[in-house]
Symmetry: C2
Subunit: 256 residues, 2 copies
DNA sequence: GTAGGCTATGACGTAAGGTAAGAGTCAAGG
DNA sequence: CCTTGACTCTTACCTTACGTCATAGCCTAC
């Protein structure tokens, strides 16, 4: 009868010696016998069992499961395989979701910086855009408008578009509060929602101080660019100013 | 300014306290400050960072990678995501392979026991099958034939079919050795190949003694059922007997 | 006799926490 | 004032399936 040393068996089956030591230790694959010096000796039976082990390992079963499968001849292997299939399917679906999310994230990131100054005002007649800039700059200062534009630009096209869509939702709620005090708890609660949503488009984490500034600046932009506060095609400058006040107050009271 | 205790932050973000302890320990997310009693205090900034961490964790990034991504603003995130996509794709392909293998295995197992006595002899006119049985039983004893049939049945339809296909290959080699001594090294070497292939269809591991018996019994079956030794539609009883001798010799010398 | 190769056991490390022990902290109620 | 209960701290061991030493014993060849 043939017998193999650890190294021979390991080489034969393509595993490491350590693996055989482990399998011996946990009782998954014991050597047929030992020499006087406690050297492990494996026989043909052990080679066969090892091959079975490796087969199930290929299928991603845990060593514990493999031991149950091999030791209990009445083990319901088909059932085990079916449930294993299910878990593999779940893993696959999860990976699909991950891939989709990553793709979205990549698209999102790539659209960053792609927003040039022209794109920022695309959709508006150039002169109109410029005139709004001038008017807003007069009212709020050149620096404020530029800061707000930078902030918006860093948000990327996707964020930009989504932000507009988002506005529709929040507009419905805030529009009803137009006559409330922008500093009231009622309004501030909605603004908090808006802040948390908006923040998701702002790349890497910044200090709260910076975020406060940026958020307040975004409110300024609302005033400087009517597109953000258009509802059903009509601009609502008083809504923009309402929002600006509410956002700045939020930034100053909640974020500092 | 708001501040959160470990438990509050944990609950807010849906992680465990231990997780926050760990993130603190590895420097991934340090508390903004500590109380006098060394209680951890987290602020709004930490909540934001934690949410970023969880986002990347959702994408199956390791904590190490996440730390690099978050700490280095110049990190090439798009590149990291692309390569992450690749590794996810590989995992998905691997899972696809596993699923296919499992399906095959299940089919294989299900065809076990489905092989009734009639199916065993399907394809042969019933009387022919019966007559072969009788003749073989006379020559080798009823018990031998039944044992061989059981063995074959336990192999399942898939194994049964594949075994026949397999025979075509080995037949080409062994047919040329028909006039050699079945016990010669030349023949025995081919038989060893055959044994190792055949064994793959024999479900769970058995003792070598049992395998030896089964393998020898399979040789008997070859003689009792001409379908195994048909080459181009012609039966070759002398080939069957040659095989039987070689297999029995192999079982007795190599497997005991 | 010794060099080189094989073997044994034991122990530590990995990733991302879970679980638990022992001790200190804090606010509320009696 | 004291106790109770909830919370927190640190330390440390457990998990998977091994890889990687470290130390020591064994075996064979020259």
């Amino acid at each position: 009868m043939k017998h193999y040393s650890v190294k021979q068996l390991a080489k034969l089956a393509g595993v490491s010696v350590r693996t055989l030591h482990l399998y011996d230790q946990i009782g998954l694959l014991k050597p047929a016998s030992r020499t006087e010096a406690r050297y492990r000796l494996y026989g043909e039976n052990e080679l066969l069992r090892l091959q079975q082990i490796l087969f199930y390992k290929e299928l991603d079963f845990s060593l514990q499961d493999i031991e149950e499968i091999l030791n209990d001849p009445h083990f319901d292997l088909i059932h085990a395989l079916e449930s294993h299939k299910l878990s593999l399917r779940r893993r696959q679906e999860r990976i699909n979701t991950l891939l989709a999310t990553i793709d979205k994230t990549i698209v999102h990131l790539k659209s960053h910086q792609m927003l040039s100054h022209e794109e920022l005002y695309a959709g508006l007649p150039k002169e109109t855009g410029e005139s709004y800039r001038k008017e807003a700059s007069k009212k709020y200062g050149v620096k404020t408008v530029e800061t707000a534009e930078d902030q918006l630009r860093s948000m990327g096209k996707v964020g930009f578009d989504q932000l507009k869509t988002e506005q529709k939702d929040i507009a419905a709620k805030l529009f009803a509060l137009l006559n409330e005090d922008p500093h009231s708890a009622l309004v501030q609660q909605q603004i908090a929602q808006h802040y948390h949503n908006t923040r998701m488009f702002w790349g890497t984490a910044q200090s709260l101080d910076l975020q406060a500034e940026a958020y307040a600046g975004l409110g300024d932009l609302y005033v400087s660019d009517e597109r953000f506060t258009m509802v059903d095609g009509k601009s609502h400058p008083e809504y923009a100013q309402f929002l600006q006040k509410a956002m700045r107050y939020f930034a100053e009271t909640q974020l500092k």
